[in-house]
Amino acid sequence: MSDKPEMQSSPNTELYDAKKVSRRTFISSLTFVAGATLAYWGWDALYDAAKEPTGATAGARKPLRRVLNANGELFENNVSAEQLSRTYPKAMAVKRPRVNGDVGITDKELAGWKLKVAKSVSETFEFTLDEIKKLPKTEFAFEFKCVEGWSQVSHWGGVKFSDFVRHYGLHEQAKMQYVGLRTPDEKYYVGIDMPSAMHPQTLLCYEVSGQPLSPDHGAPLRLIIPTKYGIKNLKRIGTLFFSNERPPDYWAERGYDYFSGL
């Protein structure tokens, strides 16, 4: 190389070779066009991919749902009792938390309400609100997060689901993988993985902003689960059950992530 001093300072420089130039240009251009075509086809195939078969989840493109479920599992394994949704002083909570949905709570009849807990297929227990209120009360303000993207610091009070399980000896049931909840009219329903259900901030909630729940916030008893989006915070619990299969979930059937954890 010593006879070509001008090249010493530029190791990336080669002598011009028409054949080399046209060969390299051809190969790389072909690769580029092939890659772009492949990407276009791939995107088309994904965009037009068949919807998943209707099960606990529905409405999403099959390949996307596969990844969403994998994401869910990845983060579900990471749920721990030590990781809390940040809590705030009660004074920072909004006075009137936003009401965003009324599916499952349009029925005005509340008299005679009882919480039904299906201990097994044949055994169902019923609890009145007064019975539930006798258990230790937990209250805190946290930033409630809607799947739409808005959030609000709001204050909620009730009984920890884990306290409820312990007090009523539902240990065997709590070994199952999921808790299912549905409204009395069965129009809204959610499934919660057990680690999230047993999280210390998950409440069977009967108070908002220090007052008994209003009907549009889910009176008399609702789920508050700060580790998940609002869509999982079912209003007006009618029946609660345990399962090793994923229980039906209203929004998961409409294309959303089943886990929907934060």
Binding site: E14, L15, Y16, S28, G35, L84, R86, C146, G149, T227
Partner: protein, 232 residues
């Protein structure tokens, strides 16, 4: 006499062209998500200058009522976007390409000269090697922005599991705002990038595909002579 000047390594060309459709899908699916709660706007003297986004925009690009779909795409393609970006950074470190890309001490001053030159205020071309000072700053900034998008994205995706990260990002709402602003940043980067590439000409553009430029000797020497201390 003409020379072949090898400019972009094969790996960098792949990372570059993969990133383009991946980022496009992230921005599009991000818009589907953003629509569901779209409070951002630029206001001056109490009047809204720009609303993100006006009704016609949502209509034209069919953004409305597709939140679940947007989330599905966003949370699948985030992995590809992250992996591609991670491998790119790893490659620049291992190959030593970072030497061409990171800003240097004098880059900040020189970038100003590049700007003046590009705006035809100043005639002389500021000294540069593979990339000029403004490019070094821009190409490094966009990688830092990418990292910012991943971190603020994680902060709003899992704000309980990564509550420390959400806290560092200034809270859930602030993290969402930063995530959005960074996206606007990519769009601005894209516009300037396209204009610059168009102005730089065919040789420069095709080198991002085939890797090299063909130049005559005079041009090679003028580049190496101006390369200064960062030659290599």
């Amino acid at each position: 006499m003409k020379y072949i000047i090898n400019k972009h390594p094969l790996a960098i060309r792949w990372f570059h062209w993969l990133n383009f459709p991946l980022l496009a899908v992230m921005i599009w699916s991000g818009l589907l998500i953003y629509w569901a709660y779209d409070p951002y706007a630029i206001k001056m003297f109490g009047a809204t200058v720009i609303k993100f986004f006006p009704e016609w925009f949502y209509q034209k690009y069919h953004i409305k009522r597709r939140l679940a779909e947007g989330m599905a795409f966003h949370f699948v393609f985030m992995w590809l976007f992250a992996v591609n970006g991670f491998l790119y950074v790893l490659y620049t470190i291992i190959s030593g390409e970072w030497r061409h890309l990171l800003p240097q001490k004098h880059s900040w001053r020189d970038a100003w000269l590049v700007l003046l030159h590009d705006l035809h205020v100043r005639k002389t071309v500021p000294p540069h090697n593979k990339y000029n000072a403004a490019q070094r700053i821009a190409y490094t900034a966009v990688v830092v922005m990418g990292l910012g998008s991943l971190l603020t994205g994680l902060a709003i995706y899992k704000p309980v599991q990564f509550n420390w990260l959400t806290f560092i990002c200034g809270g859930y709402r602030t993290a969402r705002l930063i995530h959005f602003v960074l996206t606007i940043g990519y769009c601005l980067f894209f516009i300037i990038h396209i204009v610059q590439v168009a102005l730089a000409g065919w040789q420069n553009f095709i080198s991002m595909i085939r890797g090299f430029e063909v130049k005559d000797r005079a041009a090679v020497e003028s580049v190496t002579a101006k390369g200064g201390s960062d030659e290599r």
